[in-house]
Every structure is written in structure tokens, then in C-alpha cells.
Amino acid sequence: MSHAALETRQGHIEVRNFALSYETIDGAVEAVTDTQIHVAPGEFVSIVGPSGCGKSTLLNAVAGFLKPTCGIVTVDGNAVTGPSAERGMVFQQYSLFPWKTVRENVEFGLKMRGMPKFERARAARTLLGLAGLEAFENHYPERLSGGMKQRVGIVRALATGPKVLLLDEPFGALDAQTRIIMQQILTNMWQRLKISVLFVTHDIDEAIFLSDRVYCMTARPGSIKAEIQIPLERPRQQAMMMSSEFLALRRGLMSLIREESLKAMGGEITDLGMQGLSIELQGHSIADIL
């Protein structure tokens, strides 16, 4: 399956004139407005933005769970009309089936495709081996650690050989150490499979470290505020996170996000305003602590 992706360079995501609004009693509320993004075949693209900016909404529309109010989402020229196995998805809450063993979870997509039992068991074992999980194939997810669960989640999404992989803050619930290891694992898998990836996160370091390109979204209603190329060479090493190049990118993205986060919080808090606060906390003012 990776060969096919290599030869035909599939997995071109295109989101054009995209807007999505929810109907409420007070009228329509815009979640995302006037958004264009694209992911080239084999490219790793992240979306960052303040919480509630609609980045997950955008991803769910690409997955086919939400219909855009206007605009269109296409993958390789075909309009997305609903969820399908050609767009694999990894969720923040792992969302493994608790009643299936690790291997049965990985087999699920193949089973839906009608692959015979023996074949899909073998395929699942191979994939689990790549992720270092073969010893846990007969465990139920409940007994795994968060990092292992998410590895299963990624392997399960990749098992059907999708054209694109969509990840919705997949490492958000993991501790810092595990998260770094998971980022490395994801990078390795992505490089091996040459699959297109659309990755949603609120972690700026994570976005820079993983991506070829990062979209930064504005506060609600979300739209694309900036598009940043990440020219760091691959394969990426942990040490790069200390390089001046990385830090410059980080500073740039930070200030973009900070602006939007403040807007999202009401936009009234300014540095001047902070200094005006003089509440004493153990002898320090809030301004000092902040």
C-alpha cells in the first residue's frame, strides 16, 4: 500500500472557501469562516490556534463528520461527503474499542473491508510489530498505558492504508516524556509510509517539530491567520528544538497565537492592565507572578 502511495502520489487535501456555522436559538454562530488550506501528497501539515478557534471543526469536516456551510473539501479531486476508510483518523481520547483486544482493534478496518480472518490477523501482527506492540496483541486496551493506547490508535488508523491521516490533538492527554517519544514514532511511520498528514494541536513546539508547514488560525470565528513554512531539515532530532532556527520559528508562532488567545479571552487584558493589578500574593503582586 505504501508503494501505491509512492507511485501515484495520492492524498492531496484541498479545502476551499470553507465556512461552517452552527444553528442556535440566537441564530447561526460561525465556527470557521473563509478558510483555504491544502496538504500536498506526502506532506505533514499542522494546524495550531487558540482553544475554541475551530481547528477541530475543520479537521472533522475533512474527515467527513461535518458538512461545510459553504465551500468544499476534496481529497484527490473527489468531494468529501462522509467518513471513509481512505481518511484515517486518530482521536485525542484514543477511542479504542474496549471490548476488542489490541489486535482486534487494529484488524477492525480490514474486517470491515471483508478481509479473511487469517489474513487480517497476520497483517495486524505485522503492524503491531512495527509499533513494538506485538507482546500486547491479546491485551484489552484498558490495561495499556496512554502512550501504548495511542500507538494502537495510530496503527489502527494506518492498517487500511489510507491516503491521508488526520490527527486531532492525539498526544494532548499524554505526559511530556511520552509525548516526545510518540512524536518520534509518528515521524518515523510518516516517513516510511509517505502518507499525507493533517495534524491539529495547540502545542506550538509539537507543530514545529513535526511539520513541513504550519497553519495558524485566528480566534473564533476561525480562519487562517498565517501559513508558516518549517525549513528544518529531516530527519529531525530532539536537539533541534534548542537551535536558534527552531526558537525563532517558535517566537514567531507564539506571538501570533498569543494575540489570538487574548482576543479569544475577551481581548481586554493588556500588559498595562496587568500592571494595574495590585493584589498582593505572599508579598508579590499578580503582575510579578505573571
Binding site: 484515517g88 474499542f97 471490548w99 477492525f108
Partner: protein
């Protein structure tokens, strides 16, 4: 056999052991394991010990209250003593009529409860999945649900041609609503993210139903089955007491009419044991069907 010298050297122990005698497995390790087993199962052993003591205390209290015919608000004058009940138990187990009463009650439970499960579980699943079915069935179910199964007895006698059928119907009704309501509840609690995950992996409607909704609802279905089984017995006994000619409920009531007081307690205990046994069967079935939930 187990002198310290032998224990330290198993080879020597094997060499010197009498032919044919079992070689003791290295004893120190065994006793260490036993000690660990006791430590790990401390809480369970404690519960077992206290539980047994409490049951014995209950029997002794019962014995004392009845032998001294205590009258203190409640009258124990005519209450049978535990030994009298035991005597009538030893007599009853050789009496084919008593066994027939029990078998008949069990059969009624089996038929009524199975029908309730066969109708209630699928109906609950379908109601949880299809809004229209929910909208149609739910109001009727909500109106009928609060009516205790016992209140159905006169109606059931009118509805069904034979007494047997009406008693089974009462049993069915008693267990039906808890099963239906819990199944439906389980369906509403299915994590929508799991449904989305299945869709992303290419699952269609029937597969999602089979692979996600159904297993996700199983814990609640089994809660419903457990509760339903309890209510089934309550309803059955009441129905048998009112309109039966056979069955353990009828046996208990008949014992009262015939002034065989020991048999009243025997009937009650039999009902308790049967109820306990049937809920154990359901729990075992639940563990079998949901291996992911047992540790």
C-alpha cells in the same frame, strides 16, 4: 520426611525419599507462596470469615427467638424453629411433589424471563438506534412501566386461556421493563467518538450496530437482566400465591393454609436460594460474554 537438612537440598531429598513416595516440592518456596496467597486474599478471607460468623449468629438468634417463643411487638409464638425447618427440608427433598413445585417455578421463570430478554433487548437496541421507533414505543412503555406486575394478575387471567400462560405472562412483564429500560439507557450512553472511529475505518450501519452499539451496551443490558431476574421472581411468587395450583409460591401459601408452619420457612428459603442461583447464572453469563470487563 521434612527435616531441615532435606529441605535445603532437594536433590538429596529425591535420592533419599522412599520409592513411590511423593517427593515434597521444595517446601520453603511452597510456604512462601502460601503466605503470599494469604496476604493477597486477606480481604476476601476476612469477608468470608465474618460472613460465615454472621450467618451462624443469625441462625442462633432465630433458634433462641423461636425456642423461647419471644413476644416483643412481633410474635415468634408460631414461627418454626430452624431445626424444624431443617427436618421438613430433609423430608421435602425426597418428596417428588416438592421438587415438582420447584421445577415448575423454574420453568416459568425460564420461559417468562427468556421471552422478556428476547423481546426487551432487541427492542431497546432498536429504540436506541431509530428515533421513530423510540418516539412510538416510549410513551406506551412509560405508561405501562409503573404498573406492578402483580396488578396485572386479574387482567392476565382474562387475557390468557390457561392459568399457566397467565403466570408466565406476569413473570414476563415483571422482567421486561427493567430489561428494556436498561438496554435503552446503555444505547444512549454509547460514546459517539467510538461510532466516529468505526465510521472512519469503513464501518457501515449494520457493522456499527453489531461492533459498536451492541457491545457498548452490554454492561447495561446485563444490569437490566440482573434487575429483571429479581423482579421476575417477585412477580412469579405473587402470581403463584394468588392464582397458582403449583409452584414454590403456591407451596409457601398452601403451607400457611394447611398450618404447616415449617414449610412456610422452607418455601421462603427455597425462593431465596433460587433467586440467588439465577442471578449468579446471569453474572456468570455476563463475565463470559464480556471478557474485557473481568480482571
Amino acid at each position: 520426611m521434612s527435616s531441615p537438612a532435606l529441605m535445603t537440598s532437594p536433590n538429596q531429598a529425591a535420592a533419599t525419599a522412599a520409592p513411590g513416595a511423593a517427593i515434597p516440592p521444595s517446601r520453603p518456596e511452597f510456604s512462601a507462596r502460601a503466605a503470599r496467597w494469604f496476604r493477597l486474599n486477606q480481604d476476601r478471607l476476612r469477608a468470608l470469615l465474618i460472613g460465615t460468623a454472621s450467618l451462624i449468629a443469625f441462625l442462633i438468634t432465630w433458634h433462641l427467638l423461636t425456642t423461647y417463643r419471644v413476644v416483643f411487638f412481633v410474635k415468634f409464638t408460631n414461627v418454626p424453629a430452624p431445626l424444624a425447618v431443617y427436618a421438613s427440608f430433609t423430608k421435602a427433598i425426597h418428596d417428588p411433589k416438592f421438587l415438582m413445585h420447584i421445577l415448575l417455578s423454574c420453568r416459568r421463570i425460564f420461559i417468562g424471563f427468556s421471552l422478556a430478554a428476547l423481546v426487551g433487548v432487541p427492542l431497546g437496541l432498536i429504540m436506541g438506534r431509530f428515533k421513530l421507533v423510540h418516539e412510538i414505543v416510549f410513551p406506551v412503555a412509560e405508561v405501562l412501566r409503573p404498573i406492578p406486575a402483580i396488578a396485572w394478575v386479574p387482567m392476565a387471567i382474562m387475557l390468557w386461556p390457561t392459568n399457566e400462560q397467565s403466570i408466565v405472562f406476569i413473570t414476563f412483564l415483571g422482567s421486561f421493563f427493567p430489561i428494556l429500560v436498561n438496554t435503552l439507557h446503555g444505547m444512549t450512553l454509547v460514546d459517539p467518538v467510538l461510532v466516529r472511529a468505526a465510521k472512519c475505518l469503513g464501518a457501515r450501519e449494520t457493522s456499527i450496530f453489531r461492533e459498536v452499539y451492541f457491545p457498548a451496551s452490554l454492561p447495561h443490558i446485563f444490569t437490566g437482566l440482573t434487575v429483571g431476574m429479581g423482579v421476575a421472581w417477585v412477580s412469579l411468587i405473587a402470581a403463584e400465591m394468588i392464582s397458582g395450583q403449583f409452584g414454590i409460591g403456591y407451596f409457601t401459601w398452601e403451607a400457611y393454609s394447611l398450618v404447616q408452619y415449617a414449610d412456610i420457612a422452607l418455601g421462603m428459603i427455597a425462593i431465596g436460594v433460587l433467586g440467588l442461583g439465577s442471578s449468579l447464572v446471569i453474572r456468570a453469563a455476563g463475565q463470559l460474554v464480556m471478557p474485557w470487563r473481568s480482571r
